[in-house]
Amino acid sequence: MCGFGGYLGSIRDAEALLARMIAAIAHRGPDEQGKFVTPDAGLGHARLSVIGIGDGQQPMFDVSGNLTIAFNGEIFNYLELREGLIAKGRRFRTSSDTEVILHLYDEMGEDCLPLLNGDFAFAIWDNRRRRMVLARDRMGVRPLFYTNKDGVLYFASEIKALMKVPGVSAEIDPIALDQIFTLWAPIAPRTAFRNIHELEPASVMIATQGQVTVKRYWHLDYPHRDAPSTVTNEGDAAEELQALLTDAVRLRMRADVPVGSYLSGGLDSSLVSALAAGMTPRKLQTFSVTFDSAEHDESAFQTEMASALGTHHRTIACRAGDIAGVFPEVIRFAERPIIRTAPAPLYKLSGLVRQAGLKVVLTGEGADEVFAGYDVFKEARVRRFCGRQPASRMRPQLFRRLYPYLPGLQQQSVEYLAAFFGAGNTALDDPLFSHRPRFKTTAAAKIFFSGDLRATLKGYDAAEDLVSQLPQAFSLWHPLHQGQYLDTRFLLPGYILSSQGDRMAMAHGIEGRFPFLDPRLVAFAARLPPEMKLKGLVEKHILRKAAKHLLPTPIWERTKQPYRAPDASSFVGAGELDYVRDCLSEASIAAGGLFNAKAVANLHEKCRTQPVSGFRDNAAFVGILSTQLWQRNFTGQEVGAARAA
């Protein structure tokens, strides 16, 4: 795991620029740095040594000197690929997975990408064909951004490296902001920065001087909703799932350094930890966040699981005020406004892993997308059920069962429950049926947008933009699969794997690995009939079945508790930090120009005086504060100065 940057085109002072770009992302690769500079293409690399520690330096060249690679990530099946290449007569000079990519590319060009089982982003300078090849893994674990300036293509693992390019500056993209305040994340290739783009997951860019093409090499696909399932026996499916997951964990234990595991106390990370614990000769090291507030804390389950596995378990407490303390750094690393604080505890957690001397951790992320674990899937099922009998007073009561952790919802009348979830209001053939209430509730936070921002947006509709990105086959899939697609294709790379994942881990030079996103497991899960994933209102049914004999009963029986952290309440009240007051002051908000200063002042006051505020107010508070921090960090807007003025 590392970071890299580079360019295609003729530039001045290339060596110095690469040095500045790599210095900006040195946190991603604190172990080594390297550069490759030619008059019209260059690569720089910051290395976190995990595989091939002694001989995996980068940028790496092939034996002919025609191919040069800068690579971030891991190819987990590199040993198998290497064996196949050796059988074909290929000779290796190193023990690294990086060299495997070089050989594969030399043999097959970009057609090698579907063979890679890994989390990766890389750039290959192909001198023979005078082209730069950029590629990203299927699910979007590893990041890659690019921009064009004066006819030169610049690219890097993080945007802050691109900010070092002369003439490139940060300016918020209003459409991206609207998307974040609706969908939680920009729709790739858009980023929060105007004119800076993200290479989409599962995509390859071929760039020559003067021409750039981007194509997807893999698509997430589901069977036709009326097609007979190829998987009919639940017992067989659970067995196959366990075998695939076991192998996915086995491949992700490959490293020349110890591999630890996050342990949230839920089903997914417990299962990954249990499998990993059985594969390591030493005690597995596990890591958890605990919270003061009972509604967020899962430490009882974490302790039970760590004890059952006999792991060396470490915890870090996220106390009142801790989130506010790290939030500016969280935004600096996330490089985008966010509407929830949930990345902040994960930032602290990766710091704990670093302190423990580890570089690599397994996580349970991805299971909720792949095996339908999120509440939104159950909610959609209940809404459809209600929609068939809109007059029913019994059916909406099921909403209470979905959200036992939301006291405000438990107290509502049946009529209000039906109204809040739009039961019976949303067209059943709406492609966004599953996510419409979430998008609508989030978008309510846009009431704080300034008149200028609204005028710039000209009635732009992020949800409809999302619909325009859906593949043709989408309408032929089962409703559960449609919902899974929305989360897997957009929320997973756009928020979970980036803002909560790579960015928070790499802030401390930690590599997260995601067994549930192994391509074989993703393909297998997509083929499963919907009822094996969401059985009635029991989420991840088949995963529970596979996990039953591996986990203590209270863990495998647990209903999913979504990972959440305190939002607005983290920032207000006694001990409110100066930057919060500065960022939300009327002068600062007015200077930023994106929000209605008076309304934000009223929101701030409301959050101070009424500690329990609803989803919209929490999302608005965090979204506005993070946007202000984004502006301050990347555009240099001095909120303190604005206040003084």
């Binding site: 405000g408 919802l409 509502q412 009348s413 109204a419 509730t441 978008a443 934000v600 009223n602 609803g614």
Partner: protein, 86 residues
């Protein structure tokens, strides 16, 4: 003279629209469908009616038919106030 409807509108604009008077909210617009209130805000509405109008609200009163627009809120409060005065 400040009417019940005026007081209700002021409360909604101050608390749920954060003072944004430019928001076009008709008396009959649904507060839920226009994303002006969520489940927490319903309880704020109940507290407002009890505190500002001295009307006791029981659980069965807390339904959109009574509370989901400025018009409905005003009618509900007026009817209860009259019943109390009678």
């Amino acid at each position: 003279m400040v009417t019940i409807k005026d007081k209700v509108r002021t409360f909604i604009v101050d608390n749920f629209l954060f003072g944004d008077t430019s928001y076009q909210l008709a008396d009959t617009d649904s507060l839920i469908e226009n994303d002006i209130i969520d489940s927490t805000a319903v309880l704020e509405l109940v507290a407002f009616i009890e505190d500002d109008f001295g009307i006791a609200i029981v659980d069965s009163d807390v339904v959109p038919a009574n509370l989901d627009s400025i018009e409905r809120l005003s009618s509900f409060i007026s009817a209860r106030a009259k019943a109390r005065a009678a």
